[in-house]
């Protein structure tokens, strides 16, 4: 029983020492920084996407599907202007 109590106290002490060394806090700080970086990236990405979306909407509203249809109404000269025979002399 006494041995079990000593073991319990030992584990408690070790936990306090570990806590005082600051290791867990360091881990926490790193995690927080990574999160902050990700958040910054997300904010930047969201702002760009928002601009593109606005531009795309403006372009799409300006265009019609019929704009991409090609119309070739070419009507070349179809008559022959040379090569007719001469009257015999």
């Amino acid at each position: 029983m006494a041995l079990l109590a000593m073991c319990f106290v030992g584990v408690f002490m070790l936990g306090c020492v570990t806590s005082q060394n600051g290791q867990p806090n360091l881990t926490q700080n790193v995690t927080t920084n990574v999160t902050t970086l990700n958040q910054t990236q997300n904010i930047t990405t969201n702002v760009s996407t928002s601009n593109v979306t606005k531009n795309v909407s403006a372009i799409i509203s300006k265009l019609r599907v019929s704009d991409f249809l090609v119309i070739d109404d070419s009507m070349p000269n179809l008559l022959v202007s040379s090569g007719t025979s001469q009257r015999p002399q």
């Binding site: 601009n51 593109v52 531009n55 795309v56 372009i59 799409i60 300006k62 265009l63 599907v65 704009d67 991409f68 249809l69 090609v70 119309i71 070739d72 109404d73 070419s74 009507m75 070349p76 000269n77 179809l78 008559l79 022959v80 202007s81 040379s82 090569g83 007719t84 025979s85 001469q86 009257r87 015999p88």
Partner: protein, 321 residues
Amino acid sequence: METRFISALLFAALLISIMSAQPAPPVPGADKTALLDSALTDMKCKVTFETGFMHAIIARFPDLSSSLSPIIEELQLDVTRLSQYASQKDVLNYSIYVQESFTPHMMTAATAEKSGIEGQRDSGADKNETKAAMESLKSKFDSLKDAQNSCFDAKDHANLVINYYNNSLNMYEARTKNLTDRGFDTSYLLTLVSDARSQILVPLQNGVNSATDSTGVIDVLGQYCLFDGCLDGTNFHMAAKFETKRLTILLEVISPTAVEAGLDRDTPNTSLDHANRMIESWGTSNAGGDQLKATWDNIRSAAKDLHDLFVALGGDTALSD
């Protein structure tokens, strides 16, 4: 009663929507048929004259059959081929065939008739017989020429051409206005239409009005071409120029957003660049059939790529061409 009232409302709404819809720009497609038919008539009249005259020469001088008969057959084959193109409304191939095959065949016929007749005159045969044969040929020539002149009305054809050009330019103007109304910079297109009127349509109208005979009318028609086909005249290449510039305007509008969205805008740009360089190289000269086909391939390819960009940016996909 309620159903009737709703039906009446729906019908009224339909009528209002039909009446308020923007009128479609005039498409001169219908006039193409009239022009093709008229050109076909002219071609057949010319072949009737030439083959009739060659038959008359062979009748007087049977020795010339070996040189003239193959030309007669060739011209009759031309009638068949051109009739096929006309019935298919294939203006481009009709025009190419006239320029590259029919015109040279007609020139060959004229040269062969002339050299054949001169050869008979210098052959040393009985002078009286030769003289009588020549008089007979002159008479035949005149009667065939009269028949040809009444067979085809060049002035009517010229009016069809002028109407077609006018309708076509009105259509380009309407399409340009449509783009202007939506905020596109259309200054180049407006100048293009204006130049086409002043450099082609106006001088053509003036020339036709002052022509005194059908030869004069046909000569003027060969001087001012809104599109192509004036072998020794001014060719404006209107359709190819307009479509290339119009698509370039669309590309300029789409490009920044397409690049921003990581899409490829270089492919349509390259196609339009090729088309533009080809058109510039023609100047006012007549463009050959292969060059025209290659240019339109580039224009259509650019239009398809631009539509793909439009769809990739979320535009409507329903392109039916």
